[in-house]
């Protein structure tokens, strides 16, 4: 049992930069938690504090019920995979993987058994006698992972482990990593700036910005219900569309007006009538049909600017009343640049954001 509890963690660099600002987070036993955010958001610093490589200015870190805030890394029962891999160049693959076990004074026979087992798990068995310089980037990555998991730690920490691999290798290793961690059932914290990695790996994602966790939830929650405009724009490719609309009462019904067109708005937004709002909608939640002369009152009309074929789908970039919008349609849809499109967003997928604070206004 190794759940992790972070209570009010703050890290200040150079007496003024708040790299991590009063972060509290609870990670369940065996959970795969992804810390996601742009560079400089404090995610790596937070992980390094959990590892014991940095000391927080305030707050407590509790692993498996024990307060480890004042313990050095070696007494925390954690293992870490570094972004640079940090494979010891003066040791063979075998000695790299066995390094931690040797430090723990594990018996010789057990060291050999567990090291070979870990190497097998990451398919490094043929390379045990090699040195780091004789390995490819992907193999070095495997050494780093094997070296961490062989310790059978309570918590596995991974700092952007895939960011130095080329695209194809990254895709393969991502799946492999997911299988591996699922098998090991170790509580895992994984730092990345890549939202695709975060979505595909995490049980939950904690989105960080400016030293704070701005949203924490399952990948689907974060994707479907971004708490702020920032998260909606950061997660998903293409990012969520945001349209500036004005909430008006038309014939007693609330409508979000965009130029001369409008969409029905939920009655719960009544407080915001006659005010500007941000309307968020994902590109795949919009139905697009070429305008056939009759302009309907329901729906928005966009002028098609660019059409990009993505393989299975087509990404259409258009413009509504001067505001950009991206729509995903079927690859064989008869849409060409210059064509006017009638857009029907799925109404239950509409998200409303305050135009000032950029936070979501929850309506359901």
């Amino acid at each position: 049992m190794a759940n992790i509890e972070l209570r009010g963690i703050t890290k200040i660099f150079d007496k003024k930069v708040r790299a991590v600002n009063d972060v509290s987070l609870t990670i369940a036993d065996q959970e795969f938690m992804v810390l996601l955010g742009p560079s400089g958001c404090g995610k790596t610093t937070l992980m390094r504090m959990i590892a014991g490589l940095e000391y927080p200015e305030a707050g407590r870190i509790v692993i498996g019920g024990g307060d480890v805030t004042d313990l050095p890394p070696r007494k925390r029962n954690i293992s870490m995979v570094f972004q640079s891999y940090a494979v010891f160049p003066h040791l063979t693959v075998f000695d790299n993987i066995a390094f931690g076990l040797k430090m723990n004074k594990t018996g010789k026979a057990e060291i050999v058994r567990r090291t070979e087992e870990a190497a097998e798990l990451v398919q490094l068995s043929p390379y045990l006698e090699r040195y780091s310089a004789q390995l490819s980037g992907g193999q070095r990555q495997r050494v780093a992972v094997a070296r961490a998991i062989v310790m059978e730690p309570a918590v596995l920490l991974m700092d952007e482990p895939l960011s130095n691999l080329d695209a194809l290798l990254r895709l393969n290793f991502r799946a492999e990593l997911k299988r591996l961690v699922a098998e090991l059932k170790t509580t895992t914290i994984y730092v990345t700036h890549d939202q695709v990695e975060a979505m595909s790996l995490g049980d939950r994602i904690a989105v960080m910005r400016d030293g704070k966790i701005v949203q924490c939830g399952t990948p689907m929650e974060v994707y479907e219900r971004p708490a702020t405009e920032f998260i909606g724009g950061f997660i998903g490719s293409p990012p969520m569309n945001f349209l500036k609309v004005r909430l008006e009462r038309v014939d007693g019904e609330l409508r979000a007006m965009l130029g001369s067109h409008g969409l029905p708005a939920p009655a719960m937004l009544a407080d915001h009538a006659d005010r500007d709002l941000l309307l968020g909608i994902r590109a795949e939640n919009i139905e697009a049909t070429p305008v056939d002369g009759v302009a309907s009152q329901d729906g928005l009309v966009s002028k098609t600017l660019v059409v990009e074929l993505l393989g299975a789908q087509m990404l259409v970039t258009g413009e509504i009343d001067g505001q950009g919008i991206k729509v995903l349609v079927r690859a064989d849809a008869p849409i060409k640049p210059g064509v006017d499109l009638l857009l029907h967003p799925e109404l239950d997928k509409l998200r409303w954001f305050d135009a000032e604070s950029r936070n979501e206004i929850v309506v359901s």
Binding site: A51, L53, P72, P73, R74, M80, A86, P89, M103
Partner: protein
């Protein structure tokens, strides 16, 4: 007429321009090589002359004009030098002093170098500068009070006095060289060791040291050569227990010429060999031009 064939015209212009530039380029290169050759000769010619004279029969020394190609190989002069009174004793002193200097400066200097490399402490840059500025202090001014101090401590005229002095002289280099060596060992490796069950000391001994060792060896050799060559402090701080350079300097005026040449070569050779061995690290330290 001029514009009848503009394409050809510009082509010619271009060619002549390129030729001019090429000529200038060749001239520049030739000048560079000439300069390098002159500088190399400036250093190598005396070394060469010393070497062939040291290994020629003794009467060759007085010959004029000098022979550029040695006619006869002989260890007569070297034999004479090595067996002169005081040479072997001072040689032994020199080696001891250099070794003590090496050990002391590494023990004191390497941790300072490590601190400079790893920790961002307040006043790090001034500290770096101050370390270097100790070299700006003239040895003459330093030596007299030191001689007095060593007299009262009872270690005057001993190899320990000279070794202490040499340690002080070598310290700036030791600190700065070791610091650059430790910087080249990625901090990640040390942190990885910390997460794998090492104490900071264990991480240093098991990960940083093995990786820094070749560089540290180079730094040690550099210190050794520094102490081996140092003569001024050694002359002031000793009377009987001289190091080799101090001894040679003391007897130089009363020695025959072939003794001087043999002594010069004897002093020169170890430095040259050592510098040659560690030149890779010195280049790395002072800015690599090309591998």
């Amino acid at each position: 007429m001029r514009n009848a064939n503009p394409a050809r015209e510009t082509g010619d212009d271009f060619r002549s321009l390129r030729q001019a530039r090429g000529r200038r380029h060749t001239l520049g290169r030739a000048g560079l090589y000439l300069l390098a050759t002159v500088m190399a000769l400036w250093v190598l010619a005396p070394i060469y002359l010393i070497t062939i004279t040291a290994f020629s029969p003794r009467d060759v020394v007085r010959e004029y004009p000098k022979q550029v190609i040695p006619r006869e190989f002989s260890v007569e002069s070297m034999d004479f030098f090595v067996n002169s009174t005081g040479v072997l004793g001072s040689l032994w002193n020199s080696v001891l002093v250099a070794l003590i200097t090496l050990v002391l400066s590494t023990i004191i200097g390497a941790p300072a170098g490590y601190a400079l490399a790893r920790f961002a402490f307040k006043g790090r840059d001034p500290y770096r500068l101050v370390i270097l500025s100790t070299r700006a202090f003239p040895i003459v001014i330093l030596s007299i009070p030191l001689a007095v101090t060593f007299l009262t401590w009872g270690i005057y005229d001993s190899i320990y006095a000279v070794a202490l002095m040499h340690t002080a002289l070598a310290m700036p280099f030791t600190v700065l060289i070791t610091s650059s060596i430790f910087v080249s060992v990625p901090h990640d490796l040390e942190e990885a060791a910390l997460t794998l069950g090492c104490t900071p000391l264990q991480a240093f001994l098991r990960v940083v040291m093995p990786l820094a060792l070749p560089g540290l060896a180079a730094a040690s050799i550099f210190t050794f050569v520094l102490s081996w060559n140092e003569v001024f402090a050694a002359v002031i701080l000793t009377l009987q227990e001289r190091t080799l350079p101090a001894h040679v300097l003391g007897v130089l005026t009363s020695s025959p010429p072939h003794f001087r040449f043999a002594a010069a070569w004897f002093m020169l050779a170890p430095s040259l060999i050592f510098i040659f061995l560690i030149r890779r690290y010195l280049l790395g330290l002072w800015g690599r031009i090309s591998r």
